[in-house]
């Protein structure tokens, strides 16, 4: 399910967050929890198409393979993997769309 950060449907207004440079950044959120390879990547690719250049996509996943897969995905698609972290068995990735 693709949602904007404040829980509205994907087509609703984006949420604006302040980046560390104080510039508002559009953040979309993708919940890929419980999905296995290659679904998190396929859904992230799709979600990124709706993110404006420079915008962020937050992804939550439970597939342990996603850690390496998102690194490779960002390298191959020339997007920036801003953060990759883990809390319990949920992995969180933040991707900045560069192209």
């Amino acid at each position: 399910m693709l949602r904007w950060a404040h829980g509205q449907e994907w087509s609703a207004h984006p949420v604006f967050r302040l980046s560390n440079r104080g510039i508002p950044v559009t953040t979309a959120v993708l919940d890929a929890k419980g999905l296995s390879c290659p679904l998190p990547i396929l859904k992230a690719k799709k979600a990124l198409q709706g993110v404006p250049a420079g915008g962020l996509l937050e992804i939550y996943a439970t597939d342990p393979g996603a850690v390496k897969d998102f690194e490779a995905f960002c390298r191959a698609t020339r997007n920036e993997l801003v953060a990759s972290s883990r809390e319990g068995n949920v992995f969180k990735f933040v991707i900045r769309r560069l192209n």
């Binding site: 390879c37 290659p38 191959a76």
Partner: protein
């Protein structure tokens, strides 16, 4: 050959200098070209069962998500994967000792049992294949693995080039109307091979 000692010396110098510089230059240039070039992959899909439908569709959809150009050539039983309705693909445990036989329901200790069912039962019990398929589909759903129709749609959406083998269409008595309209063309080996030659990755599955 009419060379003066001077030109011979010069030639020798140039040759030695080129040997020094060229390998590094070439490597840099190749890396640069590789970086710029869009990667491509061709896959030959030859199997028409539920389990063997996964590798080609997973690899094709993922490669497309990475921005690669992908072409899939469906031949023999692989042509099954292009049919309009692929929700009825089956998996057979018969003669497949590599397939774990575990139940997708019940308490953990029960799910952990690997049922070692003899071939003679798998072959002799009517509907055994259908039962195994139902259990496999339940396992796929439980584990959050994509369904085959879902993966194929992802390929279609991402613009993966789907190609059917015309010889197989004739051999098995199919018509083009049996397959999804997204199949771009029905061709033979002579069309596929040059595509495979130019691809960075080419797989036979």
């Amino acid at each position: 050959m009419g060379m003066t000692p001077d030109t011979a010396l010069l030639d020798d110098l140039i040759k030695r200098r080129l040997d020094e510089i060229l390998p590094q230059k070439l490597e840099e240039k190749l890396a640069e070209l590789r970086e710029k070039k869009t990667a491509s992959m061709t896959i030959i899909a030859t199997k028409g069962t539920l389990d063997w439908a996964y590798p080609p569709f997973i690899l094709a959809s993922t490669a497309a998500a990475l921005g690669w150009n992908v072409s899939m050539f469906f031949t023999f039983y692989g042509l099954n994967l292009l049919k309009k309705d692929i929700s009825d693909l089956k998996v057979s445990p018969l003669g497949n000792p590599g397939m774990p036989m575990k139940m997708p329901f019940g308490p953990d200790w029960f799910r952990g049992i690997n049922w070692n069912i003899p071939n003679v039962i798998e072959a002799g019990v009517p509907g055994f294949e259908s039962l195994a398929t139902v259990l496999m589909k339940q396992t796929i759903q439980n584990k959050g693995v994509a369904s085959i129709p879902e993966l194929r749609s992802a390929c279609v959406e991402a613009g993966v080039n789907l190609i059917g083998c015309q010889m197989t269409v004739d051999l098995f008595g199919f018509t083009h109307g049996d397959f999804i309209p997204e199949v771009k063309e029905y061709v033979g080996a002579a069309t596929f091979l040059p595509m495979a030659r130019d691809a960075d990755v080419s797989l036979f599955i």
